[in-house]
């Protein structure tokens, strides 16, 4: 996905001279295309994420679009105050892109996981939070993000994510996509965990349980209508995210359900437990270990429909 993002960004930058890339010494093998094509619009700030974010804000304040880009937590948590005070408060046109959302960097360990980002970033005023699920969605999300004027957090995947969509992707910020329809239950996911959701829903379909599958690619602003429809038109809602159970997609959906007066629908959140991810292994293995595998999702749906 990161290659697709970089390619899409490069295409946009060829047409739009306002696009700058502001790095903190991360991006080997991916960012060279941009750096070589637009050396005047590229800078490596060194391993200094606070400065990277402040510089990006200054670049954006001059009428440009500045991309900050790094691994998992690096361009978000280290420099959270710069994102809050400088980028969000000034509505600066800065796009914060992380590579390796969730546990994509698997065995590199907790320092390289991004598992609280959705909760933290969505709490910031003026911030848009996007997490594409597959490569086609990531490409369309990149175009939508770059066309939008204001701060965006973009939770990118890592490598070779399988497709979740069968059809071409339409992407509107804040408008969820229904990938498959059904009445028995709705599975709402965000990000690359979507593929497990897809497989779970397909498996359930074989057993006669028809699920609506929704990519909530924009966690903020969240699609209230899609959630309310799911609550009133289907038998249950299950949210799935590769993120701590606190404050992420599931919490955001629950807020809509309660505020919208449709909280009686059977509801369950599947997410990482509120622990530090200390087990060691690949993303695939960790997802199973922490209860977000295909069978876990299928079981949760069956369980809630009992």
């Amino acid at each position: 996905m990161r290659a697709a993002f970089n390619k899409a960004l490069l295409e946009i930058a060829k047409k739009d001279p306002r696009v700058y890339m502001i790095l903190a010494d991360i991006g080997y093998g991916e960012i060279e295309g941009f750096a070589n094509a637009f050396p005047k619009r590229f800078i490596n700030c060194g391993v200094a994420e606070q400065n990277m974010t402040g510089v990006a804000c200054g670049v954006a304040m001059e009428g440009n679009i500045a991309i900050t880009y790094s691994i998992a937590n690096f361009p978000t948590l280290r420099c959270l105050e710069q994102i809050r005070n400088d980028v969000c408060y000034h509505k600066a046109n800065v796009k914060i892109v992380i590579i390796g959302g969730g546990m994509a960097y698997g065995p590199l360990g907790i320092s390289h996981h991004s598992t609280e980002d959705l909760a933290i970033l969505r709490a910031l005023p003026n911030m848009v939070v996007i997490a594409p699920c597959d490569i086609p969605e990531a490409i369309e999300a990149t175009k939508a993000m770059m066309a939008y004027n204001g701060p965006v957090y973009y939770r990118c995947g890592y490598k070779k994510e399988p497709n979740v969509y069968d059809a071409p992707v339409k992407f509107t910020i804040g408008k969820a996509n229904v990938i498959r329809d059904g009445k028995d239950a709705t599975v709402i996911f965000t990000g690359t965990i979507g593929h497990n959701c897809k497989l779970a829903v397909e498996e359930l379909a074989k057993k006669g349980i028809k699920c609506r599958l929704i990519s909530m690619h924009t966690v903020k602003p969240i699609d209230v209508e899609a959630i309310k429809n799911a609550a009133t038109q289907t038998g249950a809602i299950i949210t799935v995210e590769e993120h701590n159970i606190c404050g992420g997609l599931g919490s955001a959906v629950a807020e809509v359900l309660m505020d919208g007066g449709v909280g009686k629908v059977p509801f369950k959140r599947l997410a990482l437990p509120d622990v530090n991810v200390s087990k060691i292994g690949s993303q695939k293995w960790l997802i199973e270990e922490y209860g977000l595998g295909v069978q876990h999702i299928a079981k949760a749906v069956k369980g809630i429909l009992k």
Partner: protein, 277 residues
Amino acid sequence: MLESKNPKCRELAYQVKLNCLKMVYGGQSGHIGSMLSCAEILSVLYLKILRNITPEDAKNLERDRLIFSKGHGGGALFATLAELGYFPKEWLDTYYQDAGKLSGHISHHINGVEFSTGSLGHGMPVAAGMALVGYRTKQKHHVFCVVSDGDCNAGSTWEAIMLAGQHGWDNLTMIVDYNRLQALGNSEDIINLEPFDAKLRDFGWGVKTVEDGHDVNELEKALTKLPVEKGKPSAIICRTIKGKGVSFMEGNFNCHYGPVTKELYEKAVAEIKAKGI
């Protein structure tokens, strides 16, 4: 010669100081020492140095940019802007008050304020980003950033200093309001920046020290000839006195937070007035 040129700067600084005292007393807020420390710096910048910025056209694309990173001293910037007509002077009376127009730290929602600050260490990276764009697109404007001692404790300030030095952005000038006092005491006892000029030179900056950062002539001289060295960003270290102009505040770190009572307020105003312009 310069002496006769600058009565306006001294007059503005004088008014700014009186305004700041009134604002801080009215709002029962802190940071008066930080404001009195930079009144002359701001007066010289606005009357002599910053180009293409006016109250009517504060967002002119060719304006010199001023990032005021020591946001806690922003009362002085508000007072300067009010005196120059960027917004109604009456707004100063609402400083730090319920439903007031002006917050304790500066906000870009006020005409003339380039950037909101308040948490130290934020100004220099943003200024560096602005300088990067101006430098690479060959624009003529200059980017200034006023920092405090406390600002220079922050790693992010030094990250920006290293980056600007690395790339030689000589359209960027950092003005240090170097009063050597910070929230909890003497800077040299907390984080000693000395030898400050040597440090900055080692980081690739051209450096000039203004021995009396309250002397408007000296300030104007230093800020007129920029960059200090071609091909390098400039640092102007202004040796200032926290609480300048009020004997019981000068050099006293208690004036960073300490409240101003009616008695102290009247005494301070009397001292500023007695000294005159």
